[in-house]
Symmetry: C2
């Protein structure tokens, strides 16, 4: 299914590469430029992004923004990688299974029993309520080092159910290109996500080139303790802050202290409306990008039942990025 779309993408892409090559060859002294947004379809969306970056970086221009204010913030699930299913949720079930493997006494009660016996139906029926709390309890019982190792082990061994590739291959190549392009133009790139901050930080540098100190997320309460003479932070079985919706704008202020010049989020859970609006409230120029999950062939097609995010985009003039139309390829390993 996905292959046919890829070939279509490849055809359009080949043409633009060919045209670019002919053009560049004609200017003998100019080295062949690589398109920093090569996975984006040549069209209005790509052009708007390119023009925006040109305007804010043009010294002396009317929309010039000094580098210190070039803050770009990205949601994670559904914006930087696929969120069907929620990757961190898959990890939480993996954590529960590992806990059942370590401790046989857990196996006779739920959700450990279901995880140990690969009873996926139990989790499908129960949904988040049956595993969010137990996963938090397990996290509070292990050291941070153990937690990090388990996240790494999850990524090293587990496969996305549906796409049948490692989870780290479900990142969106066009957004990776956009972040790289922004950084090359003096932007600082941040993640602001409802995902767990400790979970995201294990992989953010490798997957996205974003260091842990530029990742903002949901957190559990922690406490400094001295154990055997060494200071350690103990994670408590208690939510500190759920970083979603309006809270994302508050967290951006707490962690960054500036209104972002660019925010990219996605429709699907109404989670990014708050921070997109907060960015738009900036004095002067700014850009808001909302990914529309409209590609049932190459990714997944889903929508909010009230279209709240798409309606907000329409009302406020945010740029809607169609995965189907604006992206030549979605995943880094796709043939183009």
């Amino acid at each position: 299914m996905r292959t046919s779309k890829f070939r279509f993408g490849w055809g359009k892409h080949a043409l633009s590469v060919l045209l670019a090559y002919v053009f560049v060859s004609a200017c003998a002294a100019t080295p062949a430029a690589v398109d920093p947004l090569a996975s984006w379809t040549d069209g209005a969306t790509k052009l708007a992004i390119e023009r925006f970056i040109e305007r804010v970086t043009m010294e002396g221009g009317p929309d010039y923004v000094p580098p210190q204010q070039r803050i770009a913030v990205f949601d994670n699930d559904g914006t930087l990688w696929s969120e069907q299913p929620w990757v961190e949720g898959q990890f939480k079930k993996y954590q529960i299974k590992k806990a059942a493997e370590r401790d046989p006494s857990r196996r006779d009660r739920q959700p450990f029993k279901a995880a140990y016996e690969n009873d996926l139906g139990y989790f499908e029926t129960g949904g988040l309520p049956v595993y969010l709390g137990p996963a938090r309890t397990i996290t509070s019982e292990v050291s941070r080092e153990h937690y990090d190792t388990e996240v790494e082990s999850f990524f090293a061994t587990q496969i996305h159910p549906g796409l049948e590739v490692p989870f780290q291959e479900t990142i969106y190549q066009p957004v990776i290109e956009l972040m790289t392009y922004l950084r090359a133009n003096g932007f600082e790139t941040f993640i602001c996500s409802g995902g767990g901050v400790d979970f995201m930080r294990v992989m953010s540098s490798e997957l996205y080139g974003i260091e842990p100190y530029q990742v903002i997320g949901t957190s559990l309460v922690k406490e400094l303790q001295i154990v055997d003479g060494r200071s350690i932070l103990v994670t408590k079985d208690e939510l500190d802050l759920f970083n979603n919706k309006d809270q994302k704008a508050v967290s951006i202020d707490l962690h960054i202290g500036l209104r972002p010049l660019l925010v990219m989020g996605n429709e699907g859970g109404r989670g990014d409306i708050g921070m997109l609006g907060y960015s738009q409230g900036r004095d002067g120029i700014s850009m808001q990008l909302l990914i529309n999950h409209d590609d049932e062939i190459r990714e997944f097609a889903y929508a909010e039942d009230d279209d709240a995010s798409l309606n907000a985009a329409k009302k406020n003039g945010w740029l809607v990025v169609s995965m189907k139309d604006d992206w030549l390829s979605i995943y880094p390993t796709e043939e183009k």
Copy 2:
């Protein structure tokens, strides 16, 4: 008073500069190197810092630390600038005075009356309790833009009582040099302070070269609201998080996600013991620096009544920086 010490410092400094000059002149082909820690006395403390930075940056060496992990965290009050009196406290009184000037109806009640009439005795007697709460209330009544403008106005017009210079001239030149030196060696530098995060962020870039997103501090509760179609964050009259003592380690984890490779704090309020210990708990090499306020001639001499910070330094092998002995000059504008 201060002048005599400066002359003493200048004498020692002149000698080391002369010796360095003779040495460098002897190596004709070598361009004269500028000492990145020119305001530090040549001695054990300076040497320990230089050696530490050499070790963590020496590729292939046993203590090499990759740039991503080169996190340096600094306290602010008493570590980056003088804290006698507490600068932000001076600003809070200034805020109260400005509020009384704006609104005459306030002038018949305290602390507005005292601020309006320059009754310093009232504030000295009452201390923090008489103005912390009212200043927070005022902050919740004005926009973030107004708050920032008032901080700028404070720095532009007010003078340090005692040192008789603008507050921004009470920053510590040796620590500015250390931060610059660290950044030149691939470190990211952060502030983690009990001070208000919004207050510090107005001046952190100009004073310290630290951008707002690398400043961690005390925060008030904020709420996203849409006013006249524009998203704004409204500050509430409610403390969100007091960033002091053990909380500093927790905040470092929340904002940075890594144990710092270097932490610098100061004795005086026991505020930095938690984050110094948290840094030391890092696997592998790390450095902890504790400033001792022992220079009554050039700055101020004060100590905790139980010497908790100095005792922790002694017990844990943290490097105590003597302002009297280790710093040739303290302030950027001093004659050397």
